[in-house]
């Protein structure tokens, strides 16, 4: 009993440290990718090719003065960045990075918990973050953040419908809500009318993947859907009034959410920790790379596309974003669920 508690605590510690480091370096990666797209060099001064830039960034944010606007609602103002960040972190409890490793004779699973309703847990927890955005914008007692937080709530809720619909079709495919189960289902998945097994769900559900990707961009407030923090229109968006460490929490949450979206995409569509074509024997040499490494590579490949999109596309307008969500993505997602359900029953 005490063993499992210690193992779990160690797991949580490793995951949190790893996650925060990943977030810090994702910020650096974003700046670098954007710089490369824009024929610049990006951060070059702190460490070799800016490798220590995240340290400098964090240090800067920590030592900045933490300002609360005079007529802000102090409690809610302080609480809202926490409300945003915590859900983004605890989602990782059910993300499987691999099967298990054996260390010092103890078999440690590479996930903190394999909930049998893992996917439901993710959707439930991830949608809590939006409260933080609304409260943060409202409690700042300033007009730009208020407008931005209204945008944010409308946007996140509408895109969540579409994203959740795609998750429903994935559940139909896998027949389980457990994240580990979904990955295992991809190993077993057989494309109808062919002997092929072990295809990732992205090949069976390209439409769902597309909707998930677009919805994921919108849910994380990334370009081209970064309206809640459209600096050209609303100065800084919902966190205009925030500074110092409280701003940093919003910032961390945004990037942690990106990682969440990518990690869930990897689990659902890209076969989680499975190597490419897991049942093709002659690709067996790929097993040399451990599962968790595949997982991280896939997640970062997905993140890379996020960054890439940001450097390329202009921004949608608020009404266009709503139209895209409600009139295109949601009907498409519902149709996809229907077709998937019919095919699953028939085949």
């Amino acid at each position: 009993m005490i063993d499992t508690v210690i193992v779990t605590l160690v797991q949580i510690a490793v995951l949190l440290v790893g996650l925060l480091a990943a977030v810090a370096y994702l910020v650096l990666l974003e700046r670098k990718v954007q710089a490369w797209v824009q024929v610049r060099l990006g951060p070059m001064r702190v460490g070799y090719h800016g490798i220590l830039q995240p340290v400098a960034d964090i240090l800067k944010l920590v030592i900045k003065e933490d300002i609360t606007p005079a007529r802000a609602d102090k409690w809610i103002y302080t609480l809202s960045p926490i409300i945003v960040l915590v859900p983004a972190l605890i989602v990782f409890a059910v993300i499987p990075f691999g099967t298990s490793v054996t260390l010092l004779g103890v078999t440690i699973p590479l996930y903190i918990s394999d909930l049998n309703v893992g996917l439901l847990y993710i959707t439930a927890v991830a949608s809590l973050g939006v409260y933080g955005l609304i409260l943060g914008g409202w409690s700042s007692n300033s007009k730009y953040p208020l407008l931005a937080s209204l945008r944010a709530s409308a946007q996140l809720i509408s895109y969540e419908v579409a994203v959740t619909m795609t998750l429903v079709s994935m559940i139909l495919m896998a027949g389980t809500l457990s994240m580990v189960g979904i990955v295992e289902a991809q190993r077993a998945f057989q494309l109808p009318f062919s002997g092929r097994t072990g295809l990732w769900f992205i090949f069976a559900q390209p439409v769902a993947f597309f909707i998930y990707f677009v919805g994921g961009l919108a849910e994380t407030n990334r370009a081209p859907f970064d309206l809640p923090e459209a600096e050209q229109e609303l100065v800084g968006g919902f966190h205009t009034e925030y500074s110092g460490m409280r701003f940093a929490l919003f910032f961390l949450a945004e990037y942690a959410n990106m990682i969440v979206i990518s990690a869930v995409a990897t689990t659902l569509f890209l076969g989680g920790w499975l190597r490419p074509f897991p049942n093709v024997a002659w690709l067996g040499f790929l097993d040399w790379v451990p599962g968790w490494a595949w997982f991280i590579v896939k997640t970062f490949a997905f993140l890379w596309v996020f960054l890439w999109v940001r450097a390329t596309l202009p921004r949608y307008r608020y009404d266009q974003l709503m139209r895209l969500g409600w009139k295109f993505l949601i009907p498409l997602a519902i149709a996809n669920v229907m077709v998937t359900a019919a095919l699953v029953v028939l085949l």
Binding site: L147, R315, R317
Partner: protein, 374 residues
Amino acid sequence: MQIERSATQFDTDELVINMGPQHPSTHGVLRLVLRLDGERVVDADVVIGYLHRGIEKLSENRDWTQIVLLTDRMDYVAAATNNLGYCETVEKLLQLEVPRRARYIRTILSELQRLASHLVWLGTHAMDIGAVTVFLYCLRERELILDLFEEYCGARLTYNSMRVGGLPIDLPPGWDRKVREICDIVDAKVVEYEQLLTQNRIWLERTREVGVISGVEAVAMGFCGPPLRASGVARDVRKDEPYAAYAEFAFDIPIGARGDTYDRYLVRLEEIRQSTRIVRQALDGLPEGPVLGKVPRLIKPPAGETYHAIEAPKGELGFFIVSDGKSISPYRFRVRPPSFCNLQVLPRLVRGHLVADVVALIGTIDIVLGEVDR
């Protein structure tokens, strides 16, 4: 669709927000007071004057040569065309003949300036709409043009590159070859910008049918330059009242059909191509000879007044100068800046649009506050 509102049930105040003068996308120190109904703009007040330096009054206390460098500070993104407009106005007062070579070089300089100015416009406009990368690409090419100016006159922003009666210096050796190279580069890169934007669905949605203004209305409200041409009015001072050496070159005036933000974008991109075309023609036919006409040591135009306009990158730039024939400074110096005249159309353009369109519309009329406020 009209939703009936009941004021007793809901609180339906209009929201007044203040945009600028320290706002990332008001292109300097423009201040807008927006009245919003939700996200829809009911009305906008443009507040200007934050960059007023009294250039017009200052000019009435400087001699005629010194004013050239004050004009640099008006539209600081396009200093060469300001120089040109001023010098030609004074030449008109003096009835001075400018050598043909000087007129050719002036044409080359002002077209290069148009390229640089349009590149800055495209970059900032695209960045306002969220396409950050285009900005850096555009500034990369603008840098090459600034290098040309630096080689010619030593400055990169405020050139002071012209004199009454001609030019201060002749072209440096090998300059024309570099200009040709850069024209080729710009032509090639415009294709790249178009790949990023012209067919981009988001770009189309953000710019089509945004800020539509008909040709008749545009003329009535005093629109000038590329925005006027985008509304379908083929008014270009270079063609209508040729100055410098424009009468000797072949070039087209692109005009738009719908008069929306997208048309204004297309018109300016086409103008970039036409500018390189003019520069190449001017380099091909560059005559030999002096670059400065016979200018008296002390410039003292006879008493009289004159108005002269040129086509600056942002529109029709006019100078109205009165000389009393006695003093060594103008008696009255007045500028008709294109940015100022275009800016007054902004409230009309933004009415009924969303907040996000406001920044797109500020971008599309291409203002420089240094010129608006002077």
